[in-house]
Amino acid sequence: MKDKINKRFGFLIGDIFIAVFVLLIAAIMFVSFTINGQNKGGKTAFIYVNGEILYEVPLDKNYNDEIKIGTEMIIEISNGRVRIQYSNCKNQNCVKIGSINTQNQIIACMPNRIYILIKSEADNLINEFDAIIG
């Protein structure tokens, strides 16, 4: 069987296509998420612990708060942004990711089963229906 890979690193034209395709999908997703998040007002941060909403915090400007969840996590809300200030998890991914402020953005700490989700007023109703049906 002839060895068809003959260039230095072995790239073939299809490889470039695949890489570009993946990057394109990533760009499209990112753009649509950003556009989607900007318009609606009245954003609220929902803090889920073990799958249930424990806290609902409105994200208005000039509203600052600190929420402690047991000894596991401290969540800081300031100027319409939410972030995890402290977490006792091993990989600290949730702290490293910084703050979120637009709708549908989510910070998750999988080991602690805690996640923070930002939704706007209009979507709250949809979430409630999901809870009843599902």
């Binding site: 069987m1 060895d3 068809k4 890979i5 690193f9 072995g10 790239f11 073939l12 034209i13 299809g14 490889d15 296509f17 695949i18 890489a19 993946v22 990057l23 999908i25 990533a26 760009a27 997703m29 990112f30 998420f33 889920y48 799958g51 990989n91 991914n93 490293k96 990711i97 549908n104 953005q105 989510i106 998750a108 999988m110 080991p111 996640y115 989700l117 999901d130 599902g134």
Partner: protein, 182 residues
């Protein structure tokens, strides 16, 4: 790049089982090395992994066969998450691994392989689907479709890590073929 014709199909079962064991050990060691070395902390972006064990999986695909490679993927998932992980990490790695396996098998068996796509492209596609599978796992676990928000960043990282793993696998495969070790 058809090492399979010379070995995978004709290998006796006892030999194949032994080789699967060797490749599985190799995959676990590679995963463990990646775990200890803490590449994940060095990666500037959240949660991007190098996926070193995929080198062993890809070589197994070409020298043993696809079903054997699938076994290695599943078993490595189980063993790593039992030893070092959790139920969550198991769900992530098994869904990611199965998704990556499917797309890699489809691409390698397609007529495009060898002429238009090399193992590098297959590896990039595999890495992307691995991340996609992980997001699906997180969506199922949390019940929030918003987890897809992480996917764009992961996909960008997967292009780079897939390329690195692909180039490394290709070099190793060429070496193995040249020395007729399989």
């Amino acid at each position: 790049m058809n090492l399979m014709q010379s070995s995978g199909k004709n290998m006796k079962l006892y030999k194949k089982v032994a080789y699967i064991g060797v490749f599985l050990s190799l995959a676990i060691i590679l995963s463990y090395i990646e775990l200890i070395l803490g590449f994940n902390a060095l990666m500037p972006i959240y949660g991007i992994k190098l996926g070193l064990y995929n080198i062993a999986v890809i070589i197994a695909m070409f020298s043993l066969g696809f079903i054997e490679a699938f076994l290695i993927i599943v078993l490595r998932s189980i063993i790593m998450s039992v030893l070092f992980g959790s139920v969550t990490s198991f769900a992530f790695s098994i869904l990611g691994g199965v998704a990556a396996f499917i797309i890699m098998t489809v691409l390698i068996k397609s007529r495009l392989f060898g002429k238009y796509i090399s193992i590098i492209g297959v590896s990039v596609a595999g890495a992307s689907f691995f991340n996609f599978g992980q997001i699906i796992a997180s969506v199922i676990l949390t019940g929030q479709l918003s987890m897809f928000y992480y996917l764009p960043v992961l996909l960008i990282g997967s292009v780079f890590t897939g390329t690195i793993i692909g180039i490394t696998s290709r070099i190793i495969l060429k070496y193995l073929k040249y020395n007729r070790l399989f």
